[in-house]
């Protein structure tokens, strides 16, 4: 039995998002299972980030529903979705600039993960350090986020998302700009998370990473799904090749 067969954790039904006359997402239907490694690809402007925004609550869909853990969350604000277990990183990092790295993570522990009952501030700090250790940022814990490099910022975004204690983590191009060895490092980390039953949606342009990571891949083009399947199936799909390479 594959993970997808255990019943969906996230179900997106007939989701459409338009901005004025422009249809960014057109009738998207997809299910993602517990702990599934799901790759989301597509050319620039195909609607990947819009889909992520509709899942995380940054945007309200024009039509359709988002169901998470059996509950309709279409109208919930992002904070409520975060409490239910949806976390994301941003394509362009959005750190809390007036804080240090560890303080950024403490926000997550203070709010999203407060149900973890890490009562004392020391406990929360230890937990935050553990996350930083895992992602390889422990040495930068007390550094101001303004002093971080782009790569470190992306790692911090991922760490902050992990600190909310998610069931579904959406990584929006977390690997852009990383070296090959760093990509492998982050991939191992994400694959490790899936081993803990955390589903991961990975948006990525680095194809080797998508191929290595994903159990299933979905390809969007101009707001529509053009292929869903195993990485090999999707890569072999003529329409996917057309969308990426042109005709």
């Amino acid at each position: 039995m594959t993970r997808a067969e255990q019943g969906p954790m996230l179900r997106i039904e007939a989701l459409t998002k338009s901005f004025g006359g422009f249809v960014a997402l057109d009738n998207i239907n997809v299910e993602i299972g517990k702990g599934e490694r799901f790759g989301l690809i597509g050319p620039n402007g195909s609607g990947k980030t819009t889909l992520v925004n509709c899942i995380s609550g940054a945007l309200q869909p024009s039509k359709g529903t988002v169901v998470f853990g059996g509950e309709d969350i279409t109208l919930l604000p992002p904070s409520q979705r975060s409490h239910r277990g949806i976390a994301r990183s941003f394509q362009i990092p959005r750190p809390f600039r007036s804080m240090t790295v560890i303080e950024n993570l403490m926000v997550a522990f203070d709010f999203a993960a407060h149900r973890h009952r890490l009562e004392s501030a020391d406990h929360r700090r230890d937990a935050a350090m553990a996350v930083l250790n895992r992602i390889g940022l422990a040495a930068k814990a007390d550094v101001a986020t303004t002093a971080l490099t782009q790569v470190e910022l992306r790692k911090m975004e991922l760490a902050r998302a992990m600190a909310t204690g998610p069931k579904l983590l959406i990584s929006d191009e977390a690997m852009a700009g990383l070296s090959t060895s760093e990509v492998d490092e982050v991939l191992d980390l994400l694959i490790g998370l899936c081993g803990e039953d955390i589903a991961v949606i990975m948006i990525e342009h680095i194809m080797q990473a998508v191929m290595r990571f994903s159990e299933r891949v979905m390809c969007l083009d101009a707001g529509r799904i053009i292929a869903v399947g195993t990485p090999a199936e999707v890569m072999g799909n003529a329409r996917v090749q057309e969308a990426y390479l042109g005709t």
């Binding site: 992002p78 994301r88 750190p95 007036s98 926000v107």
Partner: protein, 318 residues
């Protein structure tokens, strides 16, 4: 954290004891008359910084909240001859309700739009009070001070002590917020609202809370002004100068820590009082403007930012 709390409360107790002692030893009324204004500005600036500093929502409606405090006191005095404490508590309630209303209506706006909405609010409320005959309308209203409490020699000295207590209450509240997860949440949403939401911070709820608390404390700080001046009129109670001064004091002091607005209020408040007796009270506004410009250009993080540059002082959060 505990140790610093003990230090804080010892400091607060010592401050109040000193204030009380001063009212017993100094005969001249004038220092208390002037000191009251400075304490009032400390209350207003610190209370303002909860929403304006931590959350980054620049409230230009300080005068609206202040005026509502003044006129709550006026109303209660005229209708029930209510004692001062009741006036202050009622003003805080009125301010919190106003804060809730303003928050619900305006906190979905950002940046300059929020600020403009709060200015509009001040004008609307001022106009309403101006047309309310019972509390004196545009002409204002004379108020009779009740007899002073036994411990104090004069009413002004008592008000000075009361305002000092209010300052302690406001600072303690603000300090508690700063050190709690609410403070961290406000700081997060000031930096990036969407990122804060996605990290689990209920931004709208926190902003409302900040608006309610800040509004309640500003109105409470305004309540004793009615009996301090023994007169209230809409033009002075809702004077935009309060909004501008309080904003300048907070920014000049620095908004990262509660001590910033306190320093700013003392610096500008003392300067204003000195100018008022030596040159004229009209110069105040000019000096305020120049000081603000100098700080915005040379020290955008205020006095606190300058202090951080000193090698001696490691940033700590008492």
């Amino acid at each position: 954290m505990r140790k610093s709390s003990i230090a804080f409360w010892c400091g607060a107790a010592a401050f109040l004891a000193m204030v009380f002692l001063l009212t017993r030893t100094i005969g001249n009324e004038y220092p208390f008359f002037a000191g009251y204004v400075i304490l009032q500005f400390i209350v207003l600036a610190v209370a303002w910084s909860i929403l304006g500093g931590y959350a980054g929502y620049v409230n230009f409606g300080t005068s609206a909240f202040f005026g509502v405090g003044v006129y709550t006191a006026v109303l209660l005095l005229k209708a029930f001859a209510a004692p001062l404490l009741v006036q202050i508590v009622a003003a805080a309630l009125a301010g919190s309700l106003l804060g809730l209303g303003v928050g619900l209506l305006t906190l979905r706006m950002r940046g300059i739009f929020f600020s403009i909405a709060t200015i509009a609010l001040a004008i609307i409320i001022e106009t309403s009070v101006m047309n309310w005959r019972y509390v004196g309308g545009a002409a204002g209203i004379q108020l009779q001070r009740p007899p002073v409490m036994a411990l104090f020699e004069s009413y002004v000295k008592m008000l000075f002590f009361v305002q000092a207590m209010l300052a302690v209450v406001v600072i303690a509240t603000t300090r508690a917020i700063q050190n709690s997860r609410i403070g961290r949440g406000l700081q997060a949403l000031r930096d990036d609202e969407l990122a804060a939401e996605c990290t689990g911070v209920p931004t709208l709820r926190l902003k409302l809370l900040a608006c309610v608390i800040s509004g309640a404390l500003i109105s409470a700080g305004g309540a004793p002004a009615a009996l301090y001046l023994q007169y209230a009129n809409p033009e002075s109670a809702f004077n935009l100068n309060y909004s501008v001064s309080v904003l300048a004091m907070s920014l000049i002091g620095g908004t990262a820590h509660w001590i910033g607005p306190v320093l700013g209020a003392i610096l500008l408040g003392v300067t204003q009082q000195l100018l008022a007796v030596t040159i004229s009270s009209e110069v105040n506004v000019l000096v305020l403007g120049i000081t603000l410009v100098v700080f915005v250009v040379a020290a955008p993080k205020g006095i606190l930012g300058l202090l951080e540059l000193l090698p001696l002082r490691r940033r700590s959060r008492p």
